[in-house]
Amino acid sequence: MPDIQLVDVNKRICQGLCLTIHDKEIFVIVGTTGAGKTTLLNVIAGVTDYEGRVMIDGRSVDRLPPRRRGVGYLFQGLALFPHLSVSENIAFGLQVNGVDKVVAEKRISSLIEMMRIEHLQDRYPHELSGGEKKRVALARSLAPSPQILLLDEPTSSLDHQTAKYLRNELIHVLRTLGITTLYVTHDLREAEEIADRIAFMSDGRVEQVSTPRDFFFHPQSECVSEFVGMPNVLECTQSRILTSGLVEVVSGDIKMVLPYGGNGIKRVAIPPDDVYLSDIRPPGPALNRFTGTVQEIIPLQSTVRVGVSVGKTHLFAELPASAFNEISLEEGKAVHVVIKLRRLRYVES
């Protein structure tokens, strides 16, 4: 699978864009709406005109039409052909490339199996759910065995469970195929889960390219910090290995046990939406559970941000508005705090 280089690309909001995506890399582009993420994918796919140079595997593709670039593209709107059934949609890329019928049928069957859409083969796009459509569109874009895969917000507009399920399937498929992938999302959590490297785009510029961990701990500009969303960063005064894979850290009045395979932890970052709040004592062992006091309640668009003090340590929790309404929280009132471990980030000492 090839690498991709963009040199001084200009198109609409994107000006002087330079970027290198390595061979077999899952490269995630995050950024706010209108940052130029989709434009970037369109430039690589060649479905729009542009200035500058795009090189795939060291060769300039600027003069190549989209069909000669070897790029699979999952469009944000999916663009499943409404007049073709699921299997016809998937077969399209093979038919137009003159793939032998027997070979094509095998390929279609294997993709249908891989995407678990056997039961949908004869349906038309309007008869599919959002998640099913995404899987069909993904199978279609993979059918001609592209060298590069461009995915434009593949899990957007899906409910949380379906998005999570599809994301896991995607990770599995992409790792199995070892295909160079550009993955656009505005969901930072999704980016961290899937990316080898993350690029942050704002106003047509690439502000930062880094590993997910560096992206989180070392934002290189104010807009990246803002996008990351100010996590709770706790400086650890003590770090002690309990047993293989478990470390106990102390930060102020908070003592936590974390799953960690290294030697010691200097700093822990906890995303606000991984801080769980409850007005009643949650069941289970008292590990990583604290009692704090609500300091401030800040309603946001669809979530509520709650400032909580645990001793002298201040934490922010962010919970969906619906979840907030189910518990009774008031400023100055005691609250139970549970820190979820799954998505913590660490800086080693």
Partner: protein, 256 residues
């Protein structure tokens, strides 16, 4: 969707039966002045039988049908071809649109005097009129259909490896079919209306000619027979294209 019941069918046909009954009563009991000018329904049906039995209706109907079929099919085919060309290639649109825009507003029958001089009074005259009548609306509906195909489908097909011709024939034209069929459906009925007018004015055979002969003989019953045939044919042609549309695009078109 609510299933059609036999009661619905009765309600559909009931007003027609009432209309026929009223017609029969008014005609039979001379409720309108001029007995000969308002024959009862039964007299019209009797005349329909005579005209069919002696072959007059069949011969004229066949003449009209052949003209409509040739004119409509060739006009529609040419309209689709030019419409696809203009919708798909901007240069063709720029070159042809000014000419077509100028010719389109001329009513099909407006061409009649010119065509009578150019072509003469022969079979080609009504066929050409129907050709013109169906060509322009089909051109415009096809252009609209082609241009309205979402650009994303074309881009998706491009990235999947399709050439321009494949995209046109496999994606764009099939997706433009609902619009194309709208034009065809309208023109299917319209071509009969235009034909009758042309036959009344200039052609000695066909349903239109039979109509005008009946008028000169003050045979209202024959006139009504011809009008009924005309009505049934307009409706049948429209329904035929609607059926073809349902067969070809019904599975997906309302959801595209």
């Amino acid at each position: 969707m609510k299933k059609k019941t036999s009661l619905d069918a009765v309600w559909g046909i009931f007003p027609v039966l009432v209309f026929i009954a009223a017609w029969e009563i008014v005609g039979r009991f001379h409720l309108l002045p001029g007995r000969l000018l308002f024959p009862p329904f039964s007299a019209v049906i009797e005349e329909f039988y005579h005209l069919t039995a002696n072959g007059v209706l069949g011969k004229n109907f066949l003449s009209s049908l052949v003209r409509v079929l040739i004119g409509l099919l060739s006009g529609s085919a040419a309209g689709i071809f030019v419409g696809v060309l203009m919708g798909w290639r901007n240069v063709a649109h720029k070159a042809l649109n000014p000419i077509i825009s100028l010719l389109y507003p001329i009513p099909a029958l407006g061409w009649l005097p010119l065509l009578m001089l150019w072509i003469g009074i022969n079979e080609m005259l009504p066929i050409t009129i129907i050709f013109i009548c169906s060509f322009f609306p089909v051109v415009y509906n096809t252009i609209t259909g082609i241009k309205n195909v979402d650009r994303r489908y074309i881009q998706a097909a491009e990235t999947l490896g399709a050439s321009n011709m494949r995209i046109l024939f496999k994606i764009v034209i099939p997706l433009a079919l609902p619009n194309i069929f709208t034009g065809l459906r309208l023109e299917a009925g319209m071509s009969w209306r235009v034909l009758i007018a042309a036959e009344m004015v200039a052609i000695p055979t066909g349903i239109g000619a039979l109509l005008i002969q009946a008028e000169s003989l003050v045979r209202v019953d024959i006139i009504i027979v011809c009008l009924i045939v005309l009505s049934v044919m307009c409706l049948s042609f429209e329904k035929l294209f609607a059926l073809a549309e349902r067969k070809m695009v019904g599975k997906w078109s309302s959801h595209a």
